[in-house]
Symmetry: C2
Subunit: 429 residues, 2 copies
């Protein structure tokens, strides 16, 4: 959007257009940075600058504020110049899938659109290039709610290819909506990781004063370059302010807020690492980099559903779905329970060879089908409780396990084997 | 279970059986209380006493510990004696539905079973009788995973009857699994509350050293007797230790851990009140007691489903369910999103007159279908975003709203009207 009101007047008086480097004086404060387009959610008196640090700042201008031009934007080639390659710096792969974080601000037009090329992607956060040699690739450009099982497979292969050809880590910019699912899928599909695979998103696009894109990407890069980690993680803000980021294990992470910048949380475990500035601090157990090569186990059988139980959930609902698939993950109540009629449906489904895996919709804590009669009946009907595995992770894992083998017993065995940190040993009951 | 090992030896030497009042000496510690049966999850060296305060304590006996009998249990009539009625004390209704909290320890046999009579129920927590005159009723004796819409209706009528005949509050002992759903249903069904309606559960049965039943019931009673509150709440532990309880608004509460005693959490708002000992402290806005009478609006149309979207969720899944019901609540990703194919399914369903209500599976934060193209497409397909309403609460409310009116537009209007605190005004975007 174009600026209006006082902001427009001040900018016009200075002859400043989006992309110029400008200085804004407001009382005793002075700020210098690249003039960003006005965001549709911003108040009309707000001017947003991208500071040299990479962070955005939103300034509320008042009568008496002044805007002066430091330098006009370069009119050609500035953004599309070749990616620089520094001597002695490590290679980090950036494999973009789309989403808010991969949105690119075109300083020439002021428009924000998904990064369409590798260069656009990287130049939306040029600070990365100070830390590493960036190998950028736009693999997909989709909203994450449209990700499918096939996208996970393509992504797993692309990540392995980069790591097996010298990248010390892979950053996967991703829409936040389904980033947890993708992180879980990559966790199961990739083995012997030679470096971190870091899914990273942002909750505010990079043209907004409050954008978290830069900090999350820098933290992801720091992990790839400096940390001895061979796991798939999600990297996001650790609190609403720009203080630190957290790396969450890919099988244990869930989006727990629709809009906050610290929306992602590790469930049942602590985050793997905290990144504050250039410092990476690990907590608890984690896998170190392997010698490689990275193996891809990307076979997956998509014929599964995830069903949340609730009062009034009808047998017909369960039966209709269970008749369509090879595996059902149930997110039961409390310790993993469903009502008596659904237990009968489970029994019928299991008899037909359908996997019925039980998790808890509480999200935290473990299932335990030995405490109450309901649980014991579910087990004797053939349901398989899977400890403290998240429902979403269990759904991804079940499809992956069904892709690895056709044997019913082997699939169930895989579900109970800790493949990628999805099961925590500690039981609280 | 019977005691074994050292515990059994000590008890045998003393001639103590379950139900006796005994004194246990262990080093410098001395504890006196009612000898409880051994719980199947307890270590065999643990002896559990119910202290005069109502709390249970688990003592690990060692060689050198001694057990002496203070008094033998009464062999008849002790538990089934008439409920006492004190002069000048207020009436509180206790309407039990079942669940762990309503389990009754029979001191004569050591068995734990659901309370079958009002007396059994109350005498499992005799401390209540010091605070009020208890009007006890066992309405249902079921595990909460078997609660249905019809149970909610019967419960709403029973609560109104008690409040309209002089009880200052109603306590509803309930299994924790679906207690949040029941609390939401009562919130919509009961209007003009003359006192608190307190759903209360426990995560550990009353024969376990760590039982939370007594403290939760006492806090619920305190709220009924002392507090100026006219809302439906859930009362549970505020932290794992026995320090304080929290009262959560019935439309904003969710079970967020499968086993912890502080499993329940308020989503998007602060708990309404904190109860520590005899002190009730409110935070934020709440409804005060009305003059009455309490109105019951218990009509409800059960033809609704709650569907959680995830990558790989197929149109057929949505269509099969939407063809069966009058209303669907979608728990979308992030701000409330679903994939493009599901948007087409929503459009078809809405055209057939099916309500499609959108919430977020993040559970925290609000839906917003104006930010991204996906959301805007969902709205133009006829989906109805409902702010920061919990998916579970939206599901209950949709059935209730469809019970109030047959008019499509009126149902949608009701969904957007704040009936019982289910919508928070503050928007974070």
């Amino acid at each position: 959007m174009t600026h209006t009101g006082l902001a427009a007047q001040l900018l016009k008086a200075a002859g400043a257009t989006v992309g110029d480097i400008v200085r804004i004086q407001k009382g005793h404060e002075t700020h210098t940075g690249v003039l960003m387009p006005r965001h549709e959610f911003s108040d009309e008196a707000i001017i947003t600058l991208k500071l040299p640090s990479g962070y955005n700042i939103g300034l509320r201008v008042t009568q008496g504020s002044t805007v002066t031009i430091v330098s006009k934007k370069e009119t050609k080639g500035d953004v599309r110049k070749k990616l620089p390659r520094g001597q002695g710096r490590k290679d980090v792969a950036v494999i973009s899938t789309g989403g808010t974080i991969a949105s690119y601000v075109d300083y020439r037009t002021g428009a924000v659109h998904p990064a369409k090329s590798a260069d656009e992607l990287v130049f939306s956060v040029p600070e990365l290039m100070d830390l590493c040699n960036v190998r950028a690739k736009v693999l997909y450009s989709i909203l994450s709610e449209n990700m499918t099982v096939a996208h996970w497979q393509g992504l797993a292969r692309a990540v392995a290819e980069e790591l097996n050809s010298g990248a010390v880590g892979a950053i996967v910019p991703h829409g936040t909506d389904t980033m947890g699912f993708t992180a879980a899928a990559l966790s199961f599909m990739l083995k012997n990781l030679t470096g971190p695979v870091v899914c990273v998103g942002s909750q505010r696009s990079s043209d907004r004063p409050s954008s978290d894109a830069t900090m999350n990407l820098l933290a992801a890069t720091r992990l790839c370059v400096d940390a001895d980690l061979g796991e798939v993680v999600v990297m996001m803000h650790g609190e609403p302010s720009d203080s630190y980021c957290l790396a969450h294990r890919g099988t244990k992470v869930r989006k727990m807020h629709s809009s906050r910048r610290d929306a992602f949380a590790s469930m049942n475990i602590q985050p793997i690492a905290r990144v504050e500035g250039s410092e990476v601090r690990f907590s608890g157990h984690h896998l170190k980099r392997s010698e490689g090569p990275v193996e891809v186990r990307d076979k997956i059988d998509g014929r599964a559903s995830l069903l949340h139980f609730y009062p009034g959930f009808e047998e017909e609902h369960f039966d209709l779905i269970a008749n369509h698939v090879k595996g059902v993950v149930v997110a039961g109540t409390g310790l993993g329970h469903v009502s008596d009629p659904i237990i009968s449906s489970i029994r019928k489904a299991v008899k037909r060879g359908v996997h019925v895996v039980v998790t808890t919709q509480c999200l935290q804590g473990t299932v335990n089908l030995n405490v109450y009669s309901t649980g014991r009946d579910m087990v004797s009907a053939g349901a398989l409780p899977v400890g403290d595995m998240l429902p979403e992770t269990a759904y991804v894992k079940l499809m992956w396990a069904m892709g690895q083998t056709d044997d019913y017993v082997e699939v169930n065995k895989l579900m109970l084997t800790n493949i990628a940190g999805e099961l925590t040993d500690r039981r609280e009951l």
